[in-house]
C-alpha cells in the first residue's frame, strides 16, 4: 500500500482523508478503526456503502464497526476523488471498491493506476510461485529430421518399380495356372 504515492496523486485540498490500515492476524483480518470526522454518513449513498461493506466482509473482516468504518471511509474518499478528478471509466462505486481492495491488499496502487505490473506477484493470495511449478530450467529439445524419403523410394521411382515388379510376377504366375486349369 503506497500511501505516499496515493497522497501525491490526490489534490491537497481533499479533506478528511484517512488511510485504513490492514492488520492480518493469525486467524483473522481486521482493519484499524477509522475515525471518521464526519460521523454523520447521511450524505453517502446507502447502496454504495452496502456494497463496499459487503466487499469488506467477503474479504474476511468480521467486526461490524470495522466494516462500517471502512465502508464510510472508502465511499467518502471515492466521492471526493470523483468530484475533483473525474474519471469517465470509473463510478463512485467502483472507485470505492478499488480503494477498499487496495487497503485490503487485494490489488496494488500500481495496478489500479493501470500500469503494467507483470513483475510483481499478486499481493492477495494463498499460493506462492513455487507452489505452482518448480523453477524453470530451459532445456533445448531439437526437432529431429523426419520424412526424408529413402533414395530407392523417391516418388518418381517407386510406382514404376512396384508396377514393374507386379507385372513380372504376374507374367510368371499366370501361365502356370492356365496350364494347371482343368479347362
Amino acid at each position: 500500500m503506497d500511501h505516499v504515492r496515493d497522497l501525491k496523486k490526490h489534490p491537497a485540498h481533499i479533506k478528511n482523508y484517512q488511510p485504513i490500515v490492514l492488520e492480518i492476524g493469525k486467524d483473522s483480518i481486521r482493519l484499524s478503526p477509522v475515525r471518521d470526522d464526519r460521523a454523520d454518513n447521511a450524505d453517502l449513498p446507502v447502496e454504495t456503502l452496502s456494497l463496499v461493506a459487503d466487499y469488506v466482509r467477503a474479504n474476511g473482516v468480521r467486526d461490524p464497526n470495522e466494516i462500517a468504518a471502512a465502508a464510510n471511509g472508502c465511499v467518502r474518499r471515492a466521492q471526493q476523488l470523483c468530484e475533483h478528478t473525474p474519471d469517465g471509466n470509473r463510478t463512485v462505486e467502483q472507485l470505492a471498491l478499488e480503494l477498499a481492495g487496495e487497503q485490503l491488499g487485494v490489488v496494488s496502487s500500481q495496478t489500479l493506476a493501470g500500469e503494467p505490473d507483470e513483475s510483481a506477484v499478486a499481493s492477495y493470495k494463498v499460493l506462492n510461485l513455487s507452489d505452482v511449478v518448480p523453477p524453470i530450467e530451459r532445456t533445448p529439445m531439437p526437432e529431429q529430421p523426419l520424412g526424408d524419403l529413402h533414395p530407392v523410394v523417391q516418388p518418381h521411382t517407386w510406382p514404376k518399380a512396384i508396377f514393374g515388379a507386379t507385372r513380372e510376377v504376374l507374367s510368371l504366375v499366370i501361365p502356370r495356372f492356365r496350364l494347371s486349369s482343368p479347362d
Binding site: 447502496e47 456494497l51 459487503d54 466487499y55 466482509r57 467477503a58 474479504n59 463510478t91 462505486e93 467502483q94 471498491l97 478499488e98 481492495g101 485490503l104 487485494v106 490489488v107 495496478t111 489500479l112 493501470g114 503494467p116 505490473d117 507483470e118 506477484v121 499478486a122 499481493s123 492477495y124 493470495k125 494463498v126 499460493l127 506462492n128 510461485l129 513455487s130 507452489d131 505452482v132 511449478v133 518448480p134 524453470i136 530450467e137 530451459r138 532445456t139 533445448p140 529439445m141 531439437p142 526437432e143 529431429q144 529430421p145 523426419l146 520424412g147 526424408d148 524419403l149 529413402h150 533414395p151 517407386w158 504376374l170 499366370i174 495356372f177 494347371s180 486349369s181 482343368p182 479347362d183
Partner: protein, 671 residues
C-alpha cells in the same frame, strides 16, 4: 535382453513373416483355379491380390497369438508386484504427467488423488511429482481445474506434490504439451510417466517402473499394457472382457517378438527424460495435410526416434496395475478411431523414410493397415462375388473348387477365432482366473456373447474405418454434432444421425445381392446384418442399463471386478465424494468475484510465464457485457483473454462487484 536371445528373436520375426506370406500364398493358390477359369479378369486379379494381403495379415496376428499362447503356457504366472523380494528404493526423481484438454475435471482429479494416495502408501511419494498439464481451451474448464487444484494444494496431506500449468495456445497438441514440460522442467526429472486423463496406475507399479529404468540405463521407454476398466456400458464391458481374456496372450507374443524394438502407445509408460528431450523432438512432416504437416499420432514416431538414438523401447507385460477407461458409446469409440486413423495414415510417409529401424517401419505399417485393411476387406467382399460369378452355373456345388473355397473360408475364420480360444483355454486352466471371470459357464457364455457382438460390430467398424480412410485422404474430417448422451447411453436421435448411412447401405446391399443371387446374399449376410441393424445395435451396446444387467448376471465379468484393485476403489471413492460439479456455468462469475482466487490465478500465470495483455477491443466488449450484467454471455475467447491479463482481471474484479449489487456477489464468495 540377453545377447543370446537376439538371434532367436530375429529368426522368429523372419519366420513369422515368412509363414504369414506362405499362408497368404497358399490361400491364393487354392482359390486361383476356382476364380480364374479361362482368362483372369480385372475382378479376378483384384480379388486374388486382396485375398493374399488380407490372409497374410490375419495369419500374422494369428502367429503372434500362437507365440503368446506358447509363452503363457510355458510360464503362466505374471509376477505380482507385492511378492517381489528385491525392492530397492528409488534414488531418482520422476514426474507423472497428466496432459488434459477440456476433460471432465471430476474424473481427472478423482484419478489424480487416487494415484497420489496409492503412491503415498508405498512410502516413496517424495520421489514423485505430479504435473497437471492443461491445454484446456474452455475457460470455464480451465477455472474448474484451477479451483480443484487449489483445493489439493491447501490440503497438507503429505502426499506427492501437484503442480499445475496451463498453456494459452495448445501448440503441437498432446505431443507439444509434453514437449513444453520437457523444455521447461524436464531437466529436473530423471524420468517422466505420461498418462492420459483417464489413466490409473497403482503406486507399486509406478515404483516398479522406476526401478526397472534405474536398473537398465539403456532403457528409453518402458510401456505397460493398460487394461480398459471402469466404464459401465455393454460396449465397455465387452472391451474390457476381451482385453482381459486375450490381451495378455497377444501382448506377451508381441513383446517377445519386438524385444527392445517395442512400441510406445502415448500413455501409461515411463520415459527417460533426458534422452527423450535430446532425441525425440518432433518436426513436421514434409508436405501438406493430411499426410504431411504436424504429426498427429506422436507416440509411434517418438518410439522410432528413441530407437534411432540407440535406446531400448520395451513392452512390460509382466507389470500389472495399469488401467485406462474405454469409450462408453459406439460413436465415441468410432471418433477415437478416427483420430488414430488420421495419425496412423500419416505414418505411411515414415514407412519408407530414411533412418527408421526396420521394426519401427513394421509398427508404422501395422498401425496403418489396422485401418486401411477395412476398405480392403470391403473391396474384397464386393469384388469376390463378381469373381466367383458363374461358378454355380458352370459346375454347381459338385465342383471341388467350391468346397476348397468353403474350406478356405473356414480356415480364415479359424485364424480369426483361435486367439479367443487360446484366451479361453488359459482362463479355464487357471482356477483363480476362472473364478474371477465368473466360473466356467459364465466365462464361456461371455466369450460366445462377445464373439457374436464382434461379428455384428465388425461391418459397422469396417464402414466407419473405410469412411475415415477416405475422408482423411481427402483432408476432411467426419463430425457428429449434438451428441447429447443420455444417462442411459445413446439416444435414438443421435444413433440415427451417426448410423443412418450404414443402415441405408446395408438395406441397399441386401436388396441388390438378393436380386442378383440369393447365394450372394448368404455370402454377404454377416456384413448386411450388422449394417442394417446398426442403429438399435449401437443403442443397445452403448447402454449403461444393459451393461448393469450383464454385470448383475456376472456376464462379461473380469477378475478385477471381483477382486477390485486398490487404485480403482480409491478412484471410485473420490468420484462418489466429489462435491464440486465438473461443469459449473457460474464458475467465471465466481472467479471474478473472488479476490483470493484471482490472486492465486495471477501467481499461476506469472509462475508459468502465461501473462498476456488483452487487447483493447476485448476489454471494451467485456466492459459492455458486464455493464449489462451479461458476464455469463462473454465469449470463450474474451474470457481466455481476460484470464491471461492480471491488470484486466483486477479491473474487472471491482467492476463485477459494482455490477452485482443484489447480494449475489457475497453468495458467490461463500460458494
Amino acid at each position: 535382453m540377453p545377447a543370446s536371445e537376439k538371434p532367436v528373436i530375429h529368426f522368429a520375426r523372419f519366420g513369422l513373416l515368412a509363414a504369414s506370406l506362405v499362408v497368404g500364398f497358399f490361400a491364393t493358390t487354392i482359390m486361383w483355379p476356382a476364380i480364374v477359369r479361362n482368362q483372369a479378369s480385372v475382378a479376378d486379379m483384384i480379388a486374388i491380390s486382396l485375398l493374399f494381403v488380407l490372409t497374410s495379415w490375419t495369419a500374422l496376428w494369428f502367429g503372434v497369438s500362437v507365440i503368446g499362447f506358447a509363452l503363457v503356457l510355458w510360464n503362466p504366472k505374471r509376477e505380482p508386484l507385492k511378492r517381489r523380494i528385491h525392492k530397492p528404493n528409488p534414488f531418482t526423481h520422476t514426474a507423472i504427467l497428466l496432459p488434459v484438454y477440456n476433460e471432465d475435471t471430476t474424473l481427472v482429479f478423482a484419478g489424480l488423488q487416487a494415484m497420489r494416495e496409492s503412491l503415498g502408501k508405498t512410502g516413496q511419494a517424495d520421489h514423485f511429482d505430479f504435473f497437471l498439464l492443461s491445454d484446456s481451451t474452455n475457460p470455464d474448464i480451465w477455472l474448474a481445474e484451477e479451483k480443484r487444484w487449489r483445493q489439493l494444494c491447501r490440503a497438507s496431506d503429505g502426499l506427492s506434490k501437484v503442480y499445475y500449468r496451463h498453456r494459452r495456445v495448445n501448440t503441437g497438441r498432446k505431443a507439444g504439451n509434453i514437449a513444453d514440460f520437457c523444455k521447461r522442467w524436464g531437466a529436473a526429472y530423471d524420468f517422466m510417466i505420461p498418462l492420459d486423463a483417464d489413466s490409473l496406475v497403482e503406486g507399486e507399479l509406478l515404483l516398479e517402473m522406476v526401478r526397472q529404468m534405474e536398473a537398465n540405463p539403456q532403457l528409453g521407454i518402458l510401456q505397460t499394457p493398460p487394461l480398459p476398466l471402469g466404464s459401465s456400458s455393454l460396449l465397455s464391458r465387452s472391451q474390457q472382457f476381451i482385453s482381459r481374456l486375450c490381451g495378455p496372450i497377444l501382448s506377451r507374443g508381441f513383446a517377445w517378438l519386438t524385444g527392445a524394438d517395442g512400441n510406445y502407445w502415448g500413455h501409461n509408460a515411463i520415459i527417460r527424460t533426458a534422452a527423450f528431450t535430446r532425441y525425440c523432438g518432433l518436426s513436421e512432416l514434409p508436405g501438406q495435410q493430411p499426410l504431411g504437416g504436424e504429426i498427429l499420432s506422436h507416440d509411434f514416431v517418438e518410439a522410432a526416434l528413441m530407437r534411432r538414438a540407440g535406446y531400448e523401447v520395451r513392452l512390460a507385460t509382466d507389470l500389472v496395475g495399469s488401467y485406462e477407461q474405454s469409450p462408453t458409446t459406439l460413436p465415441e469409440y468410432a471418433q477415437r478411431d478416427q483420430r488414430w486413423c488420421q495419425g496412423n495414415m500419416q505414418h505411411t510417409r515414415l514407412i519408407v523414410s530414411r533412418f527408421i529401424a526396420p521394426m519401427n517401419r513394421f509398427h508404422f505399417f501395422t498401425g496403418m493397415l489396422a485401418y486401411v485393411s477395412s476398405p480392403l476387406w470391403m473391396l474384397f467382399l464386393f469384388v469376390s462375388p463378381l469373381a466367383f460369378w458363374g461358378m454355380r452355373t458352370r459346375h454347381g456345388f459338385d465342383d471341388p473348387s467350391v468346397w476348397s473355397g468353403i474350406a478356405l473360408f473356414a480356415g480364415i475364420m479359424t485364424l480369426l477365432l483361435l486367439p479367443r480360444l487360446f484366451g479361453l483355454i488359459v482362463a479355464l486352466g487357471n482356477a483363480e482366473a476362472r473364478r474371477g471371470f465368473g466360473g466356467t459357464f459364465r466365462l464361456m457364455s461371455s466369450t460366445a456373447f462377445e464373439l457374436v457382438l464382434s461379428v455384428l460390430l465388425a461391418p459397422i467398424m469396417m464402414a466407419f474405418h473405410t469412411l475415415f480412410v477416405f475422408t482423411t485422404l481427402q483432408g476432411k474430417r467426419v463430425e457428429w454434432n449434438s451428441q447429447h448422451r443420455t444417462e442411459e447411453g445413446l439416444s435414438w436421435g443421435d444413433a440415427w444421425r451417426v448410423h443412418r448411412g450404414q443402415t441405408f447401405a446395408g438395406i441397399a446391399l441386401a436388396a441388390l445381392a438378393y436380386l442378383l443371387s440369393p447365394t450372394m446374399l448368404l455370402w454377404l449376410a454377416p456384413i448386411v446384418t450388422g449394417l442394417v441393424f446398426s442403429i438399435p445395435l449401437s443403442i443397445f451396446i452403448s447402454s449403461s442399463a444393459w451393461g448393469d444387467r450383464f454385470r448383475r448376471l456376472g456376464l462379461l465379468q473380469i477378475p478385477e471386478e471381483t477382486d477390485v484393485p486398490d487404485i480403482i476403489s480409491r478412484f471410485q471413492y473420490h468420484l462418489r465424494h466429489s462435491q464440486t460439479p465438473s461443469r459449473d456455468p457460474r464458475v467465471f462469475e465466481q472467479f471474478l468475484l473472488d479476490p483470493q482466487w484471482i490472486g492465486d490465478h495471477i501467481v499461476s500465470l506469472q509462475a508459468t510465464q502465461g501473462v498476456a495483455r488483452a487487447n483493447l477491443h476485448t476489454l471494451q466488449r467485456v466492459r459492455w457485457n458486464m455493464a449489462r450484467q451479461r458476464c455469463s454471455e462473454l465469449s470463450p475467447a474474451d474470457k481466455l483473454a481476460l484470464l491471461s491479463d492480471p491488470n484486466a482481471l483486477h479491473h474487472f474484479h471491482f467492476r463485477a462487484w459494482s455490477t452485482l449489487r443484489d447480494g449475489k456477489a457475497e453468495s458467490h464468495m461463500r460458494n
